[in-house]
């Protein structure tokens, strides 16, 4: 059998193309099937913190501890308000035992912190047993039955939001009150904030008023340079905040 160079090249190219294309590439998906393939793509939870509105009352921290059964007097918390601490609010200008003269305060503000529910969570990457993971709506959860308490994730989180739960002896962290948001309620900290400084958003819902703020106003995230793609957005963040 003879074969010209032209025919050989034609058949070789055609054969290669046919062999790399899977059969599934030729099936047509109905809209429902396409939707099911990217399951739950209509929810991606995010958070918005307005530091200009926070007065440092710490009621969010109190509500979080009560809601999520975090031991009240242990020095661990899923969320906090930075000037440091925050569970009992800030009722004076004493910092590290020293009274600060009001004339020496150039600017002062409070920064509520919580888990950033990163798109690339470093805490999940380091888990040796698959006990922490990202759900399809973007929240990072900890499997308390599966966690061995090694503490790698606590070390890996660049935001320091993870801690060792003193009762369950596992890693613990903020999960945006997953038991509440999945029932259509607000997280406990959002509910308890009297000043609207904390808000929850579904980034996949273009009509969500908080999503509109995140997408159209000037917001910032913490430690953007780490490439973790955090999903807690801040209004009025100062360059001194890390």
């Amino acid at each position: 059998m003879s074969c010209s160079r032209r025919d050989f090249l034609k058949q070789a190219c055609g054969g290669t193309l046919a062999s790399v294309l899977p059969v599934s590439a030729f099936t047509f998906l109905s809209p429902e099937e396409a939707r099911a393939a990217v399951e739950n793509a209509n929810v991606r939870w995010a958070f918005l913190v307005d530091t200009r509105k926070c007065v440092g009352c710490g009621l969010c921290v109190k509500a979080c501890k009560n809601e999520n059964e975090i031991p009240y007097d242990a020095p661990v918390t899923r969320t906090w308000v930075e000037r440091m601490g925050g569970r009992d609010g800030f009722i004076d200008n004493v910092i590290n035992g020293e009274e600060i003269d009001p004339d020496n305060i150039a600017k002062a503000f409070f920064v509520p912190k919580l888990c950033n529910q990163c798109d690339n969570p470093p805490c999940v990457q380091v888990c040796p047993v698959g006990a922490t993971y990202q759900t399809d709506d973007g929240v990072v959860l900890v499997d308390r039955d599966w966690c061995i308490g090694c503490g790698y994730c606590i070390m890996a989180c660049p935001y320091g939001v993870r801690f060792f739960h003193p009762v369950h002896k596992v890693a613990d962290k903020c999960n945006f009150c997953y038991h509440r948001i999945t029932k259509g309620m607000n997280p406990a900290c959002v509910e308890s904030c009297a000043f609207d400084a904390r808000r929850i958003a579904n980034l996949r819902d273009p009509d969500d008023p908080v999503t509109k703020i995140i997408t159209t106003e000037r917001v910032a995230v913490l430690k953007d340079e780490y490439g973790t793609k955090p999903h807690v957005f801040y209004i009025g963040l100062d360059e001194n905040v890390r």
Partner: protein
């Protein structure tokens, strides 16, 4: 192969087989990759439902108003309207069954969370009515003179 080589080899193979069999029984069926990424979505699927079933403690004003309509109406018309009932009364889970469960927070420190003057320039705290803890009616509970459900009123 010589016997002294085979003996530890069988031992090693046996160990691997034992571990593989044990793994079949110990790893839950729903443990695996549930999503696009092996790195981020390798987990036990039923744990998601376990977290969804975590008990809700703060039930919100809607549950308070069912019995305490008068107080909620007063609160809603007052400058304290944005403050949740449960911020001062504690999480209401299990409340109607066990009334003792809701201790009312009357401490001076609780009010000072928002109303202590901090002298911060250009800050939301400075825009609230505020007092100096050291000079304002020291050691008295705020609620003896101010009615928390409507701070414009005096308590009865």
């Amino acid at each position: 192969m010589k016997w002294h080589v085979l003996r530890p080899l069988w031992l090693a193979i046996g160990l691997v087989v034992v571990i593989l069999i044990a793994r079949q029984f110990m790893v839950p069926e729903d443990f695996g990759v549930h999503g696009d990424s092996f790195t981020y979505n390798f987990y036990r699927l039923s744990n998601v439902q376990e977290w969804k079933d975590f008990p809700v403690k703060h039930q919100g004003r809607e549950s308070c108003v069912e019995c305490h309509e008068e107080n909620v109406t007063t609160l809603n018309a007052s400058p304290h309207a944005p403050i949740e009932c449960e911020n001062c009364h504690g999480p209401s889970v299990g409340h109607p069954d066990d009334v003792e469960l809701l201790p009312i927070e009357r401490a001076r420190e609780h009010c000072l969370r928002c109303h202590a003057s901090l002298d911060y320039p250009n800050h939301a705290r400075s825009e609230l009515p505020n007092v100096r803890d050291r000079t304002h009616k020291r050691r008295r509970e705020c609620v003896t003179c101010h009615y928390p459900h409507d701070p414009r009123e005096k308590p009865e």
